[in-house]
Every structure is written in structure tokens, then in C-alpha cells.
């Protein structure tokens, strides 16, 4: 009966078709692209999902240079770097922003970026923040424990100030941090403790934290909004791992003091870099974009849009930042090479110690 065999034949034919489609170049399923850009007129910026600038700033870049910026945001900082590594033979764009010092040497070791030295006026400031010849520092900030002032005032309890305070019995069950494996601020805090306690001492510190009722949330927003008492979600814990720049957001609507603050003795300094991607179609446009990221216009916009400090010393920091978001004078530090060499090992150890 032909009709019975037909189905089988059809399936086989279809499978063959599908295979041909995969291996040869004569298929047109995918031929619905947007117009192909003229070379040099477009530049694609690959960045993490926290990248943001005020309306119209990228348009100003287009007005000045005639180059249109297309932004691609594949995920958080870790996902960004790994995607760049994975696609380095066929890069996702021309320039990248958002590789931080915890991933910097991984990106340079893998050859994701090519050397570029910016000639923008702020380049000298940027150079003070490291990055080597492949990466240009754009902004920086501190990841620190934040404290809910109101909670401690109400309980008439002195606020903790150091990492060691956090393990004291009076602060039991008060701290929540994001997971170091799944969250980049979480990892930054792990690095703060490694910087403070040394490569052999941090495990004991975390054991003590855990004994003191540490809560590990999945990500920053989960910790800040659900577990933290001062973030607006009304959670139960008055200590949370966040940024030194978070407190200005807790100034009450009618004015007054910020209701939260950062513990500046618990910070890790995070620096974010930009670079020209290896294999970029428009490397010149990418360089111009990096210069633009160092311009006063962008640098002044960074605090309000991305909650980071600009590297440029020639732009004004918002007043409420001077008041409520000071930087730590002595942040903890771990060299980028060490981080790359030990990342997996530290995270595995951390998981074993804290998550079990």
C-alpha cells in the first residue's frame, strides 16, 4: 500500500532535507535579516545587562562621529566574559564594556581584546585603575556590606563595622549575602574575605559566618529586596551585601538622611573596563566609542545610570553621593591573575564550606 510507505519515505526525505540544510548553504529559512550595515557606520557594543546610559547620550555620539551604536547585552558580567571567550572567532560586536577586575585577566589571557590606548583626556585617570594594554578602565565602585540604620537604632544595638564583627554573637542571624557562584557581587564579597583573611584563612572565616546564622540568597535582588529590611521589600535581615552606592537610593522621598549605609571596612573594589574586541569589523569605531565612554558627558552620567564612580577626576560627583555613598579608603584587593588562576577552586571550596 503506497500510502503506508509514504509516511516513512516522507520522514526520511525530511530528515535528509534537514541534514542538507545543516551542512550546505542553499537554505533560505534564515533570510530575513535587517538591512546590512555599511562598514564603519555602525559599531556594536557587547556589554552586561546592568549597562545603561541616560536617554540621548548614545545619540550624541552618533551626531559627533556619524557612527550608530548597537548594544548587545547577553547576561551578567560572568556570562558576558564567557560568551566573549566562546565567540572570539566570530565576535558578537566591536567593543566591549563591563569586564571587571575579577574577570580581566581571563579576558586578556584568552585574547578576547586587542591592545588599545585611549587618547581621551581622562585616559590618564583610567590608567591608574589597571587593565593593562588591552583594557581601559571606565568606572569603579565598592561592593560592601550595607546596614539598615533604622533597624539598629530601633534595637539600640551598635552597628558592626568590620568583617570580624559580623561573626560576633550579637549579630547572629542578621546578615544575608548573594551566592558567590551565581552572583558577581557575591563573588566580589568572597574576594574581599580572601583579601582580608588570606588564601588559607578565608574558609575559617566563612565557617564562622555560617555558624553565626549567615543567609545565602540566590542573587543580589533576592537578597536586597526579599531578605534585607532596608531595601523597600521589608525583609527580616538588617545587613546585606550590596554596593557602597546603594544608600543614596534609600533617602526618603521628602528628604532627610539615607536610611541605610555601607560598612566601609568590608569592601572589595570593583573596576569595570572597556576594550576593542579581537576580530572586530569596525575597530576604529570601537576605539572612538571607548574614547567617548571616557568623555565628560558619559563619565558624569555613570553614577546616576550605573551606580558606579567615574574614573575621570574632572567630572562632578552628585552631591548625595558625596554624602551617602563615600568610597572605602582601604578596600580589600586580590590580584586579577590570582583570581583567574583560582576562581574555580575558590568557588568550589566556598560551595563546600557554605552551601554544603
Amino acid at each position: 500500500m503506497p500510502r503506508r510507505q509514504l509516511l516513512i519515505t516522507a520522514s526520511v526525505a525530511a530528515a535528509a532535507l534537514a541534514l542538507t540544510a545543516c551542512s550546505s548553504g542553499d537554505d533560505d529559512t534564515a533570510a530575513t535579516p535587517s538591512g546590512t550595515p555599511t562598514a564603519g557606520k555602525d559599531v556594536t557594543l557587547v556589554t552586561h545587562d546592568s549597562f545603561a546610559l541616560s536617554d540621548g547620550i548614545l545619540d550624541d555620539f552618533t551626531k559627533k562621529t556619524g557612527i550608530t551604536v548597537k548594544v548587545v547585552q547577553p547576561g551578567d558580567a560572568g556570562t558576558l566574559v564567557n560568551q566573549l571567550v566562546l565567540t572570539k572567532d566570530a565576535p558578537l560586536g566591536d567593543a566591549t564594556f563591563g569586564i571587571d577586575n575579577t574577570f580581566a585577566s581571563r579576558a586578556t589571557d584568552e585574547g578576547v581584546v586587542v591592545p588599545y590606548t585611549s587618547s581621551a583626556p581622562a585616559a590618564a585617570d583610567a590608567a591608574k585603575h589597571g587593565g593593562g594594554d588591552g583594557l581601559t578602565a571606565i568606572d569603579y565602585g565598592d561592593v560592601c556590606i550595607n546596614v539598615d540604620h533604622a533597624w539598629f537604632a530601633k534595637k539600640k544595638l551598635a552597628e558592626p563595622t568590620t568583617l570580624d564583627d559580623l561573626t560576633k554573637p550579637e549579630y547572629k542571624d542578621l546578615l544575608v549575602v548573594p551566592n558567590a557562584v551565581t552572583s558577581s557581587p557575591g563573588f566580589a564579597f568572597l574576594l574581599a574575605t580572601i583579601g582580608a583573611k588570606g588564601e588559607d584563612g578565608w574558609q575559617d572565616y566563612w565557617t564562622a559566618l555560617k555558624k553565626n546564622g549567615l543567609k545565602v540568597a540566590d542573587g543580589w535582588s533576592d537578597a536586597y529586596y526579599t531578605d534585607f529590611s532596608g531595601g523597600g521589600g521589608g525583609g527580616p535581615r538588617p545587613l546585606v551585601l550590596s554596593y557602597a552606592s546603594s544608600p543614596p537610593e534609600t533617602v526618603p522621598e521628602g528628604g532627610g538622611d539615607a536610611t541605610t549605609g555601607a560598612l566601609l571596612g568590608t569592601c572589595f573594589r570593583q573596576t569595570e573596563y572597556a576594550g576593542v574586541l579581537a576580530g572586530a569589523k569596525n575597530p576604529v569605531g570601537a576605539q572612538e566609542l571607548i574614547d567617548f565612554l571616557l568623555s565628560d558627558e558619559v563619565q558624569a552620567d555613570i553614577p546616576g545610570s550605573m551606580y558606579m564612580y567615574p574614573v575621570s577626576t574632572s567630572v562632578q560627583i552628585p552631591d548625595e553621593w558625596k554624602k551617602w555613598a563615600p568610597l572605602s579608603s582601604s578596600p580589600f584587593d586580590v590580584p586579577s591573575d590570582d583570581i583567574t588562576a583560582h576562581r574555580s577552586e575558590w568557588l568550589a571550596d566556598w560551595s563546600a564550606t557554605v552551601i554544603g
Binding site: L7, I8, A14, L92, V181, S344
Partner: protein, 588 residues
């Protein structure tokens, strides 16, 4: 006897004059049609699913140009791997069993009975299905966290919190999947059993339940796949100590770029999924037969709290009430997180207000577009995805509903069915990263599909296709083959049989399928987050951005936007349900 009113499966019909199995057409046109019906979906799946996944997994197994399977030894020698596999199975199995046992009474009450407000509740239970996990995380955890309204249960960060959230998400899958079948089931079968003296419970157990098994198995396999690949839910509610294969693939791929370990885990995931699908397929096949279907208007009876006047005791009223009670409890439980979400979205500082809703039109909070713009993008994308899913899924369902006489043919059909379920069982991260390494200049064309945004509706459609298939297929399979034979005997060409028998019946479930596919596309986050253009984010992607920024305002806006997403979904699902054509079933 379960065959009271169901007709014998045509494939096993003994008499010589038995109706032929569903006819595959013989004309030239039909040949082209069936080839296309198989080829088009396969091509779609091959290019936009199989190829990227194989490309990425292959990277993990190829070192310096040669095959290297040492990853298996390495990964399986870690005790962690076994724990993760165990946890994946435990979470998915428990959640599936719970969702099915709660969903069956739900399907009865929401689809087999008629009552005031039913449409609203039907739409309501579908809402969780589309909410972004990050929002459900907030809605759930702020209930369970110590000091929260349900903090006394001490469920925060436990296995049961995860299971509860999984059931919350997938309850609708069972209710809709089973309900869609149940409301068309001819009531005369169980009425006959009752007339012959069976108790209501016995009639249900021996007549109705067996008839529903295919639909139940279908839904259960969907729920299992959703649960086994749940990602955000597991991380937010349980954390990595409850890590599953899916979360581990995510960690290994996005955080460590250990593609070798990720590839091994992907293979393990695939094996589990294939095993579950085979199991469900077996359960289905054993019970699948042509059923006497009625139009919903004939089969559905009103639900009253009081026993209908004049009806005797033991008429099954108690059973109906028990189902109604169980469903009421479940609906209340489903509502808790949703209500919590609404309440929180109205919280402004120390007071209450609509400020967060008023802010939805602004772009002040560092997001590229307003919530309304993102909503429009979401709707547009989901519409394209739904059309794609309907065409592809409809064709697959049509092909798979055929019953070839030869074993080989039957196996090919079953294989096709299973293959289209796979996208639900494979990690979104694997697909997303797979796109990155396969779509830069596909087929030598000079287009970078990865950053064009074209892939967003396609990725959503890949996920929605199985939902369409699973919704339409049980109805198509239940079509009595004698209907088709009768049409053919009366001189209808195969094409005409397809048009006049299969299509109208399938179209009746189209409303359900459209609603489901649309909801799934609207809520899709995993693959979309990799592919969406930042300048055109979908609403779930925008909500994720908002909730990632500090400040009570961004948080409030994220919650308000989620409420909008939920309300919109409910409205769309309710509208789609109304699309179903109420044709009479009396003519066959």
C-alpha cells in the same frame, strides 16, 4: 468494562470490513502535502534547535580536533553529580505527582462543570505559568521568609518551597491539558456504567479515568519536563544546595565556561528526558483509542453546591463537591503569591498608592524603554511566535495523529512526536549559547542572526510548539476513524476528509492551544534573555532589569509591571478560550 461507549481501536479491529486507519491521501497533492507536513517542522526544529544544541555539546566533546569522552568519567566521579541527578529526579517527580493529583479534580471542576465565574478562575490559574521566575521568587519568598505571612511554616529555602513553586507554575498545564479532553468526553459512557449499577467513584475509575489517561500522560510529561528544567525557581527558592542538572549546566556554562562538564550534563539531561517521554508515550499508547467525543455544551453540567432537587443519594454529588473543595483550596493557595504581588506593587514608602503604576510610562529608572513599550514588543513577538508555533505544531500534531499500519511507520510517528517535545527538556542555556556559536553567518549568509532579534520569536516558538502539539493531538487522536472512512466512502477525496473532518475538530482545541502558546511565548525568559536586543526588550526581560537595580522605586515598578503582565495574560487566555467554536456534536 471500559469499552462501553468507546469504539475499538481501528488498528486492532478484527473484522474484514473494519474501517481503515486514518487515511493518508493518495493523490499527487496529498503526497506533496504530507511531505511538507513532515519536512517543514523537522527543518524548523533542525535549524533552530538541534543544530545549535549539537554545536555546543560537540564543543564539549572535541578537544584539539579529536573526540574526547573523558568528561564522562570525570563528571561521574564527582559525588556532586549524583546528588544533582537525584535532586533533579526527586523535585520533578514529586512536583509532577502533586500537580497531576491536584490538577485532575481541577480539570473536572473547571472544564466539566459550569458555574458562575468559571472563566475568571480558568484564566487565573494560568497566570503563574507566564510570570517571570524572578518575580515569582519575590512573590513566594516574601511570603515564606521568616517574618513573612507564612514564615511560621519555616519553608524558606527547603525542598518543599521549591516543589510548591513548581506546582504553582505547572498546575495550569494539567488542568488545561486534561480539562480540554474531559469537557469533550461523551458522558453517556459513564452514565451507562452508572445505569448498570456502578458507584459514581467506580464509574469514574473504570470508565472516565482510563479515557483520560492519554491526556493525563500528556500533561504529566509536560509538567515533568518543565520541572526537570526549572532554573530560576530552584535557585531563588532553594539555592544551589538544591541544585539540579539545569542549574548546574547554567553554572558550568555561564560562570565557569566548563563546556566539557556542561556537555556531559546535557547528555544526562537528554537521557532523563528521553526516558520520561518514553514512559509517558507508553502510558498513552496503551490507552489511546478513538473516543466518543461530544461537544462541550452537551457534556458539561452545571455545578451546584446543593444536591439537585429530585436526584437520589449516591449520584456523585459528593464526589463533585470534594473536587470543588480541593480545587477551591488550590486556587486560594495559587492566589496567595499573586495577591502578595499586587499588595507589594501598591506599597509606596510607608503608605499605599498607584505611584508605581503611574511610573510605568517613564524611562527614568535607567531602563532603555518604558514598560508599555516593552509590553508592545512582548505582544508583537509573542504573536509571531504563536503563529509559528501553530503552523509547525499543527502540522506535527496532524502527522503524529496518523496511525500507520506497519510497526515501522508507527515507530516513526512516535519518534516524531517525542522529538518535538525535546525543546522543553533541554536547557535554555545550551540553546542560547548554541545560537551564539552557530548563528553568526548561518549557511554562509552574510547576516549575524545572533544580534538581529529575529531569533527571539523563533526561540519562543520552539518552546511553544510542544504545547500546541500536546493540546491538539489528544483531540485529533480521539477522532473516530470511522468518521473519516464514512466521509471517504461517501466519495470525499483525502484532502476533503482532512478539511471536513480533522480540521474542524482540531480547530475546536485551537483556542486552547493559541492561549497556551501565547502565554508561553509571553513569559519565556531563558532563551529570550540571551537573544533580545537591549533596545527592544520584552516585558519579562525589562522586569528582570528593573529588579536588578537598587531603589524602592525600581522594585515597585518591577512588581507593578509583573501585575500588568499577569493581568494581560489572564485576559488573553480568557479571550482565547472564547474563540472555541461551540459546534454541536450531535452530527457525529
Amino acid at each position: 468494562m471500559t469499552t462501553l461507549m468507546t469504539r475499538p481501536d481501528a488498528a486492532s479491529a478484527p473484522q474484514g470490513g473494519a474501517p481503515a486507519p486514518a487515511r493518508v491521501g493518495t493523490g499527487q497533492g496529498m503526497v506533496v502535502f504530507w511531505v511538507a507536513a513532515v519536512a517543514l517542522p523537522l527543518l524548523f526544529l533542525g535549524v533552530f534547535f538541534a543544530w545549535p544544541v549539537v554545536a555546543l555539546v560537540a564543543r564539549g566533546f572535541v578537544t584539539d580536533g579529536s573526540l574526547d569522552l573523558s568528561g564522562f568519567v570525570d563528571v561521574f566521579s564527582r559525588p556532586r553529580t549524583w546528588r544533582i541527578v537525584g535532586q533533579t529526579l526527586a523535585q520533578a517527580t514529586v512536583a509532577t505527582v502533586l500537580a497531576v493529583s491536584l490538577g485532575i479534580p481541577g480539570a473536572y471542576v473547571l472544564y466539566r462543570r459550569r458555574w458562575r465565574g468559571r472563566a475568571v478562575v480558568r484564566a487565573l490559574v494560568t497566570v503563574p505559568f507566564v510570570l517571570p521566575t524572578v518575580v515569582v521568587g519575590v512573590a513566594f519568598r516574601s511570603l515564606l521568609v521568616s517574618g513573612g505571612p507564612l514564615g511560621f511554616l519555616h519553608l524558606d529555602g527547603t525542598f518543599w518551597a521549591i516543589v510548591a513553586a513548581l506546582v504553582f507554575f505547572d498546575y495550569a498545564v494539567v488542568v488545561r491539558g486534561v480539562g480540554g479532553m474531559w469537557e469533550r468526553l461523551d458522558p453517556r459512557a459513564s452514565q451507562a456504567a452508572r445505569a448498570l449499577g456502578a458507584s459514581p467513584w467506580r464509574a469514574f475509575r473504570t470508565v472516565t479515568l482510563p479515557a483520560l489517561v492519554p491526556a493525563i500522560a500528556s500533561s504529566a510529561s509536560l509538567v515533568f519536563l518543565f520541572c526537570a528544567t526549572a532554573f530560576g525557581t530552584v535557585l531563588i527558592l532553594g539555592g544551589l544546595q538544591f541544585g539540579t542538572i539545569e542549574t548546574e549546566i547554567w553554572v558550568q556554562t555561564t560562570q565557569f565556561l566548563d563546556l566539557r562538564a556542561a556537555a556531559v550534563l546535557s547528555v544526562v539531561q537528554l537521557a532523563i528526558v528521553a526516558f520520561a517521554l518514553t514512559l509517558a508515550g507508553r502510558a498513552r499508547a496503551r490507552r489511546e483509542r478513538a473516543l466518543a467525543l461530544a461537544s462541550a455544551s452537551d457534556a458539561v453540567r452545571p455545578l451546584t453546591l446543593r444536591r439537585p432537587a429530585g436526584s437520589p443519594r449516591g449520584d456523585g454529588h459528593g464526589l463533585a463537591l470534594a473536587a470543588a473543595g480541593a480545587t477551591a483550596v488550590v486556587v486560594v493557595l495559587l492566589c496567595l503569591p499573586l495577591v502578595n504581588l499586587v499588595v507589594r506593587s501598591l506599597r509606596v514608602g510607608d503608605g499605599w498608592g498607584l505611584d508605581h503604576y503611574a511610573a510605568l510610562g517613564s524611562t527614568s529608572s535607567g531602563v532603555p524603554v518604558s514598560v508599555w513599550t516593552a509590553l508592545a514588543t512582548s505582544l508583537r513577538t509573542a504573536l509571531v511566535a504563536t503563529v509559528l508555533a501553530l503552523v509547525v505544531g499543527g502540522l506535527v500534531a496532524l502527522v503524529v495523529s496518523r496511525r500507520p499500519r506497519r510497526a515501522l511507520g508507527r515507530r516513526a510517528v512516535a519518534g516524531l512526536d517525542a522529538v518535538f517535545m525535546l525543546p522543553l527538556g533541554v536547557s535554555a542555556v545550551t540553546v542560547g549559547f548554541g545560537f551564539l556559536i552557530s548563528m553568526h553567518d548561518p549557511f554562509g549568509l552574510d547576516v549575524d542572526l545572533r544580534t538581529s532579534g529575529v531569533l527571539v520569536p523563533i526561540a519562543q516558538a520552539v518552546v511553544a510548539v510542544p504545547l500546541v502539539v500536546r493540546t491538539v493531538l489528544p483531540v485529533l487522536r480521539a477522532i473516530d476513524p470511522s468518521l473519516r472512512s464514512a466521509a471517504a466512502t461517501l466519495g470525499a477525496s483525502p484532502g476533503r476528509v482532512l478539511r471536513t473532518v480533522d480540521l474542524p475538530l482540531a480547530a475546536r482545541s485551537a483556542g486552547l492551544a493559541i492561549g497556551f502558546a501565547f502565554a508561553a511565548s509571553l513569559g519565556e525568559f531563558g532563551a529570550t534573555s540571551f537573544l533580545a536586543r537591549p533596545t527592544d526588550p520584552t516585558l519579562p526581560v525589562l522586569i528582570f532589569k528593573l529588579i536588578g537595580r537598587p531603589g524602592a522605586d525600581s522594585y515597585g515598578m518591577a512588581l507593578a509591571a509583573s501585575v500588568i503582565l499577569a493581568a494581560l495574560t489572564a485576559a488573553i487566555v480568557a479571550t482565547c478560550e472564547r474563540l472555541r467554536t461551540p459546534t454541536t456534536g450531535g452530527d457525529w
